[in-house]
C-alpha cells in the first residue's frame, strides 16, 4: 500500500519560508517583523506538532512533489526521527522569537532583515529534516548556511567579521566536499534518493572500497557541520560574536543538522560494520567530548564557555551512534532533543545577564543571585540539566547513553561519559560561582536590582522559563519520551517502513 501524499510534511517548512519572505516586505519596520517572526514560528510549531502526531499514529509520511514517483521525482519524507527534530526546531524558533520582544536584539539589526534571515535559517533546517534525497539535503545545507552567514555578519561588528571569515571558509570547503561526494555516490549507485540508496546499498554484503572512501568523504562534510573533533575550529571562532538570539538559534539548530545527517548516513546508507567506520566514530566522539569540555572550562566568558561546550555535547550523540544498537541510538536522539533545548536556554540566560550587566565576562559579573534570584534559579535548572543531575533531562539523557554502553559492555564509553560530565558540571559551576554567587566586583549595585524589577515578567524571562520547564518536564516524563525516541531509533536501524512508504514494498519482505 502506498502511503497517502501529505502536504503536512512540508507545511511547517513552507511556513518558515513564507514568513521570511513576508518579513522582507516590512523592511525597516521592526515591530511588524517581530510579530511575524513569532506568529510564523508558532505556526511552524503547530504544523510540526500535527505532523508528529500523524507520524506517531501511522508511520512515515511521504510527499511526492508534482506526483512523480520516487526515485525519479523529488520526495519529502517525515519519519519519526525527522518529525521529532522538526518539532523541536519549531519550538526553539518560537522561544527565540518571543525572547526578541524585550530587547533581545538591537533595533538596528532588526531593521536590516534579522527576522527574515532567522526564518530562512529555520526554513533550511526544517527542510533538511524532511528531505528525502541527499542532493536536496545539500541544497538545504546551503540555504541554512547562507542565512547563517547573513546572521553572523549582520551588524558589521569588527569581531563578527573576523569570526565570519573562518566560519565561511571552513563551511564552504565542507559544502564542496559534500557535493563531490554526492556526485561520486550518483556515479556509483545511480540514485540519490535516501530510500532507494538504502535499498540498493543493503543488498551489498560488503562495502566496496570506492563506497567506503565515499562514506568517509561524507563523514568529513557532515563532521565539519556537526563540529566533530578535528573539524570544529570554526565554531569557537565565530559563535560568540553575534548577538545572543542569533547564537541561541545557532547553538540549538546548526550543529544538530550535521549530527542528523551523520545519523542518517550511518543508519540508512552505510550501516555495514566491519569497515572500521564505527570504531573511528567512537574515537572521534570521545575526543570531541573531551576536547570540547576542556576547552569550555578554560574560557572566561559565559558565551564562550557555552559555545565551546556545544562541541562536547555533539560528542555524546555521536558516541551513541557509534555503539550501533537501537537502545544507544534512542539514547542519542533523546540526548539530542535535551541538548537543543537546554543549550538554547542557557544562551538565552547568558543574554539576559548581558543585557542586565552589560557584559558576559565572568570577571566583570557577580552578585547576580542577590539581584536576580529568579533568573539564577532558571540558570541553575538549565545548567544542572545540561550537566546531568536528577530529576532533569540531562540526567536521563546521560543515563540512557550509559545504559546503552553497558548493554554492549563498552566500558570505555561509560568511563568517558562520566568523566566528561564531571567536567561539564565543573564548567557550569564556574559560571554559577563567578557570575551569580560571588559578590559583585563593583560593590552592591542598586541599578541591578531596579532593572530586575523592570524585567521580572518580560518576554525574555518567559522564554527562558519555558525552556527551563521543558528541561524539567523532559526529566519527569523521561520514560514516555524515551519510548518515542526508541521507536524513532528502530525506524532508523530498520528503515523498512521508510523505504516502503517511499518506494512501495517489494515481495519477499526484504528491505
Amino acid at each position: 500500500m502506498m502511503a497517502a501524499d501529505s502536504l503536512l510534511v512540508i507545511s511547517s517548512t513552507l511556513c518558515a519560508l513564507f514568513t521570511g519572505v513576508t518579513c522582507l516586505f516590512f523592511w525597516n519596520k521592526p515591530r511588524p517583523q517581530r510579530w511575524l517572526n513569532l506568529l510564523g514560528s508558532l505556526a511552524h510549531l503547530f504544523f510540526s506538532g500535527l505532523l508528529l502526531a500523524n507520524v506517531l499514529e501511522s508511520g512515515p509520511q511521504v510527499l511526492r512533489l508534482g506526483g512523480w514517483a520516487a526515485p525519479y521525482g523529488i520526495v519529502y519524507v517525515a519519519d519519526l526521527f525527522g518529525a521529532i527534530l522538526l518539532g523541536v526546531t519549531g519550538l526553539l524558533a518560537s522561544v527565540v522569537a518571543l525572547y526578541n520582544f524585550s530587547g533581545g536584539i538591537d533595533e538596528k539589526r532588526e531593521r536590516f532583515a534579522y527576522h527574515a534571515l532567522a526564518q530562512f535559517l529555520v526554513f533550511g533546517v526544517s527542510a533538511a529534516f524532511v528531505t528525502g534525497d541527499i542532493f536536496n539535503l545539500y541544497v538545504c545545507f546551503e540555504i541554512l548556511l547562507m542565512s547563517s552567514f547573513g546572521l553572523l555578519v549582520l551588524g558589521n561588528d569588527r569581531r563578527q567579521l573576523a569570526g565570519a571569515l573562518k566560519y565561511l571558509v571552513l563551511n564552504l570547503v565542507g559544502s564542496v566536499i559534500f557535493l563531490t561526494a554526492v556526485g561520486m555516490l550518483y556515479a556509483q549507485v545511480g540514485t540519490l534518493n535516501f530510500a532507494d540508496l538504502a535499498r540498493k546499498l543493503a543488498t551489498l554484503e560488503e562495502l566496496p572500497v570506492s563506497l567506503h572512501v565515499l562514506s568517509h568523504l561524507l563523514f568529513v562534510a557532515f563532521g565539519i557541520k556537526a563540529g566533530l573533533f578535528p573539524l570544529f575550529f570554526w565554531l569557537p571562532a565565530s559563535y560568540h560574536t553575534p548577538p545572543v538570539p542569533v547564537t541561541a538559534l545557532f547553538a540549538g539548530l546548526l550543529t544538530k543538522v550535521g549530527v542528523y545527517s551523520l545519523i542518517r548516513l550511518y543508519t540508512f546508507l552505510f550501516p555495514h560494520s566491519g569497515t572500521g567506520s564505527f570504531e573511528w566514530i567512537w574515537w572521534l566522539s570521545v575526543l570531541t567530548m573531551f576536547v570540547g569540555v576542556v576547552g569550555a572550562v578554560s574560557k572566561n566568558h559565559i558565551r564562550k564557555i557555552l559555545s565551546v561546550h556545544i562541541i562536547s555535547q555533539v560528542g555524546y550523540i555521536t558516541l551513541a551512534l557509534a555503539l550501533q544498537t537501537p537502545l544507544a541510538l534512542a539514547a542519542g536522539i533523546f540526548y539530542m532533543v535535551h541538548n537543543m533545548i537546554a543549550k538554547t536556554g542557557l544562551f538565552l540566560v547568558g543574554g539576559v545577564v548581558e543585557s542586565v550587566s552589560g557584559t558576559d565576562s565572568l570577571k566583570e559579573n557577580g552578585g547576580l543571585f542577590k539581584a536576580l534570584p529568579f533568573l539564577s534559579t532558571l540558570f541553575l535548572v538549565l545548567a544542572l540539566g545540561l550537566a546531568g543531575l536528577p530529576p532533569l533531562s540531562g540526567f536521563f539523557a546521560k543515563l540512557f547513553v550509559i545504559l546503552a554502553a553497558a548493554e554492549v559492555s563498552s566500558y570505555g564509553s561509560i568511563f568517558f561519559a562520566l568523566a566528561v560530565s564531571v567536567f561539564t558540571l565543573f564548567s557550569m559551576l564556574k559560571i554559577w560561582n563567578e557570575a551569580f554567587w560571588k559578590a559583585s566586583p563593583h560593590g552592591p549595585d542598586l541599578a541591578l536590582a531596579s532593572s530586575f524589577a523592570r524585567s521580572a515578567l518580560t518576554p525574555q524571562m518567559i522564554a527562558v522559563t519555558c525552556l527551563a520547564l521543558l528541561v524539567l518536564a523532559m526529566g519527569l516524563w523521561s520514560a514516555e519520551l524515551f519510548d518515542v525516541s526508541f521507536r524513532a531509533a528502530e525506524g532508523l536501524i530498520d528503515p523498512r517502513a521508510y523505504v516502503d512508504a517511499v518506494l512501495g514494498p517489494v515481495s519477499g519482505g526484504q528491505l
Partner: protein
C-alpha cells in the same frame, strides 16, 4: 573525454587547496572559487560522458550542476563581499592578523 577531465579535476582540487592554505585573504577566496568549480566539474563527469549524438543521456547530473553552480555563485559573491568589508573595515589582508580580532 572523461579520461582527460580526470587530471584536470585533480589539478583544480590541488590548486584550490594550495590557495586556501595561503595567508592572504584574496588568495583564500580565489581558492574557494577554484574549489567550487572543481566540485562542479566532478559532478559533470560523474555519470560517465558520451560523445556525439546519442538518443539518451542522463539529464539528472546536469540539473544538479546547474543548481550547484547557482548556489556556488551566491556563496562566492557573499565571500567576496565579506572579503571587501574586512579589507575596508579592519584593513587586513592576512588571515593570521584576524586571529586577535575574535
Amino acid at each position: 573525454m572523461e579520461l582527460w577531465l580526470v587530471p584536470v579535476i585533480s589539478v583544480l582540487f590541488t590548486l584550490s587547496f594550495c590557495l586556501i592554505l595561503q595567508r592572504s585573504l584574496s588568495r583564500v577566496i580565489l581558492g574557494l572559487f577554484v574549489l567550487s568549480n572543481a566540485g562542479n566539474l566532478l559532478l559533470f563527469v560523474s555519470p560517465g560522458l558520451t560523445r556525439g549524438l546519442v538518443p539518451e543521456t542522463d539529464p539528472l547530473p546536469q540539473a544538479l550542476i546547474l543548481t550547484a553552480i547557482v548556489i556556488g555563485m551566491g556563496l562566492l559573491a557573499f565571500a567576496l563581499a565579506l572579503c571587501l568589508r574586512i579589507k575596508k573595515d579592519l584593513d587586513v589582508d592576512d588571515v593570521d592578523e584576524l586571529r586577535d580580532e575574535s
